[in-house]
């Protein structure tokens, strides 16, 4: 399988990437690690006329302690997130979920920013971002802006990023004392989750994100509300599928996914000590 022809631009800096986006608009796509985009291009489900390669912008690959949060460069590879002592101690849920993305070869190339900007409801990391209430930083022609994760996913594979914007940083609140659970149900080791759940509990508040339960990554708001009201893990988990619109595919229909969401949410909450 070979992608449709495209023009290739290798950006030497974020500014060059932004200039290329400004010139080519929605004809262009950004290429980071390529492990979400290239498979789509090989299937010709994506046929960008211009590919802007940002894979060598090493200044966007970092994990920094920024006081109350971790600042993670968008081009930080999954492998570096997974093995970071800082992420493991301050955002254990993110380290654990990242270790379940794809397989070792995929994690050697794929990036945290690429995975999130792809906006795939079947990806693991958006559920972590929702649970931990991350903030995303985008750079565009007018400078930088912050986007709250709840405003980021706007449609199937669509995000709040403009055609002329580059996702540069992911800000994850430091939660060293939080209890968390990550559950991913699939039938082959490296598959996408049929359903997955990220849950985190700290200082009496909770965050629960779902994988593959709607056309966009969604929060289990009913579960969070039930926990805030003092419900047990198993009672709160009953609300896991509320308000979702799960897809149907070869693996499962909506009813089965709703069942999985309840079971996996209960397990994730129990792992988080609820």
């Amino acid at each position: 399988m070979i992608p449709a022809a495209f023009d290739y631009i290798r950006a030497g800096s974020a500014e060059e990437a932004l200039a290329a986006l400004a010139e080519h608009g929605d004809e262009a796509k950004l290429l980071a690690g390529g492990h979400s985009l290239l498979p789509l291009m090989k299937l010709r489900l994506a046929t960008p006329a211009v590919l802007v390669d940002i894979g060598r912008l090493d200044d966007l690959s970092y994990i920094n302690d920024a006081g109350d949060h971790l600042a993670i460069g968008a081009l930080t590879r999954h492998r570096d997130v997974e093995t970071s002592a800082l992420v493991q101690s301050q955002a254990g849920l993110l380290a654990e979920a990242t270790s379940h993305v794809g397989d070792p070869q995929v994690r050697n190339r794929g990036t945290i920013g690429g995975s999130i900007a792809h906006g795939d409801p079947a990806s693991d990391l958006p559920s972590v971002m929702l649970a931990m209430r991350a903030t995303l930083v985008a750079r565009g022609p007018g400078g930088e802006r912050e986007i709250a994760i709840d405003d980021f996913f706007t449609g199937f594979l669509e995000t709040a990023l403009g055609d002329d914007e580059l996702l540069t940083e992911i800000r994850v609140p430091k939660m060293p004392d939080a209890a968390w659970g990550f559950q991913k149900f699939n039938r082959r080791a490296q598959d996408w989750a049929i359903v997955g759940v990220s849950a985190i509990v700290a200082n009496g508040s909770s965050g629960v994100g779902l994988v593959n339960m709607d056309s966009i990554p969604v929060r289990a708001a009913g579960v969070e509300a039930a926990l805030a009201g003092g419900a047990s893990a198993s009672d709160a988990a009953e609300a896991a599928a509320e308000g979702t619109n799960p897809p149907s595919d070869l693996n499962a229909g909506p009813e089965y996914r709703e069942h999985l969401a309840r079971v996996l949410t209960r397990r994730a909450l129990e792992a988080a000590g609820r």
């Binding site: 399988m1 070979i2 992608p3 449709a4 022809a5 495209f6 023009d7 290739y8 290798r10 290429l31 390529g34 492990h35 290239l38 498979p39 090989k42 590919l51 390669d53 894979g55 492998r79 794809g102 397989d103 070792p104 070869q105 995929v106 050697n108 190339r109 080791a189 490296q190």
Partner: protein
């Protein structure tokens, strides 16, 4: 677009279309056909090579992305007629049946031991989750990796 890569210590330069996949470049332009194409969807791992010392599925990378990088393929492992310890372990443990997954499996296994020289059996199985053997010969493959780790320690 002009691409220059180092493969198994040798420098190669070719003018390629930007859409050329790295595995096609290695096989069709450079002529190193030891790297196999299996699923072509980044699932099976048959096309695993090393890019700057790390395992990568070469069907999910463009040749232009590899420009200037240091690549290692299955052909670069052995030292002349002397097999790499991982290849020797695969041979001794009979860790191949049809052999199609073997080049990718060996490259992934070498990368695994580079990162974790003394893995448990479970760590080997998880570390090789990106490689499929359709003969389902996993038992001896895992044995070979453990054997190699032991022999090297």
């Amino acid at each position: 677009m002009e691409v220059t890569v180092t493969i198994n210590g040798d420098s190669h330069s070719h003018d390629v279309e930007p859409r050329t996949l790295l595995v096609h470049y290695i096989r069709d332009e450079v002529g190193l056909t030891g790297t196999n194409i299996g699923c072509d969807t980044s699932s099976c791992g048959a096309c695993t090579i090393h890019v700057n010392g790390e395992s990568v599925k070469s069907c999910t990378m463009l040749a232009v992305q590899a420009d200037g990088q240091d690549l290692l393929t299955i052909e670069g492992l052995a030292d002349g007629d002397v097999l790499h310890p991982m290849q020797e372990s695969f041979r001794q443990c009979h860790a191949l049946q049809c052999g199609y997954c073997t080049p990718g499996m060996v490259m992934a296994a070498v990368s695994l031991l580079d990162e974790n020289p003394d893995p448990t059996e479970r760590e080997v199985r998880i570390g090789l989750e990106g490689n499929l053997c359709r003969c389902t010969g996993y038992h001896n493959i895992v044995k070979a990796v453990l054997h190699c780790a032991e022999a090297s320690s």
